[in-house]
């Protein structure tokens, strides 16, 4: 893991984020530190789990904290930054506001237990093809299986859920 890799990851997240309306923290040194954290976690666990949360090390248990985490959008909307302050609001990105402490949202809202929705609630097209929703960016598609990577936000296949 090198400074160049951290820099490359930073450039990629910045480019992809901005194309989708997300902004990285303007403090580049702080972000590069987080990039090293993401790379370290990827090396350690096999997936880039949140640098600011203690991972279990089991992908199924950590799916919600793989960066970008399931809590990013809610925290951006409420606090103007995600828990790590990697992603920030446009005002903060432009330097008009500074990031405030973000309380940990994970675990404060009861997560719907798996299998809560009955099969008939799950969405299909009229032709019977299941509809999948990316839990990271909300992208919807109808196909027999979710894509390997979200074409919009590049999240992995297991971040998709059946759309009801």
């Amino acid at each position: 893991m090198s400074a160049q890799e951290a820099r490359a990851l930073y450039e990629r997240l910045k480019r992809e984020g901005e194309a989708a309306g997300y902004y990285l923290n303007p403090d580049v040194e702080f972000v590069l530190d987080l990039m090293e954290g993401l790379l370290a976690n990827e090396q350690r666990y096999g997936y880039p789990s949140c640098p600011c949360r203690l991972a279990e090390g089991i992908r199924e248990k950590d799916l919600d904290i793989i960066c970008p985490c399931d809590y990013r959008d809610a925290d951006l909307a409420e606090y103007g930054a995600c828990y790590c302050a990697l992603y920030v609001s446009e005002e903060i990105a432009r330097g008009e506001k500074s990031p405030q402490p973000v309380p940990e949202r994970r675990g404060t809202e009861p997560r719907p237990p798996a299998g809560e929705h009955k099969e008939e609630l799950v969405g299909f097209t009229r032709s019977g093809i299941p509809v999948w929703r990316c839990k990271v960016c909300g992208y919807l598609c109808a196909r027999p299986q979710p894509p390997l990577k979200c074409p919009i936000c590049k999240a992995d296949r297991d971040r998709f859920e059946r759309f009801a």
Partner: protein, 171 residues
């Protein structure tokens, strides 16, 4: 005051919170929860969550780099007037460095801008009397300081290179 910081080496706020505590002169024990399963379990039990950093100040839990809350909890601990000098038992310094010092509190370092600095205290001085009471070891200073209030001015006698100097300390 006991301060513990639960961190992972990957988190930006962990680095910031440690830098902040160090800057404020707060000493703390750090636990890397990504390497220390026992500390990790303790952090989850104390804070009910897995986000880092978690700062524990005398049993109070702070999740994240919440500077206003840290300031509030740390302020409770530092509302007493401070001399602002590192002191040690002069007797032990005499024994260790073979310096001919009188009994008292040996001044090792003076914090800039502190009450001690404004009183003209210098490293190498030995406090021999404070607020009219004799000082024979560094512990005497702690004992006397426990009764000092903000706004109070106290006399201080110190030994410096064989001379006794007299000054006043304004708290």
């Amino acid at each position: 005051m006991s301060v513990a910081v639960y961190t992972t080496p990957t988190c930006g706020f962990c680095h910031q919170v440690k830098a902040y505590l160090t800057q404020r002169g707060v000493s703390f024990t750090e636990y890397d929860v990504s390497r220390d399963p026992q500390a990790a379990a303790e952090m989850v039990r104390l804070s009910g969550q897995r986000g880092v950093p978690v700062v524990l100040i005398d049993g109070q839990v702070v999740v994240g780099f919440n500077q206003p809350l840290l300031d509030q909890l740390l302020a409770r601990q530092t509302t007493r007037p401070k001399l602002g000098a590192m002191i040690a038992d002069a007797g032990r310094i005499t024994a260790r460095k073979r310096l001919p010092l009188p009994a008292g509190a040996y001044v090792g370092r003076v914090d800039s801008g502190s009450a001690a600095a404004l009183a003209g205290l210098q490293p190498g001085d030995v406090i021999v009397q404070l607020a009219g009471q004799p000082v024979r070891t560094d512990r005497d200073v702690d004992r006397i300081m426990a009764n000092v209030r903000f706004g109070q001015t106290v006399d201080l006698l110190a030994w410096r290179d064989g001379q006794t100097i007299r000054t006043t300390v304004q708290f």
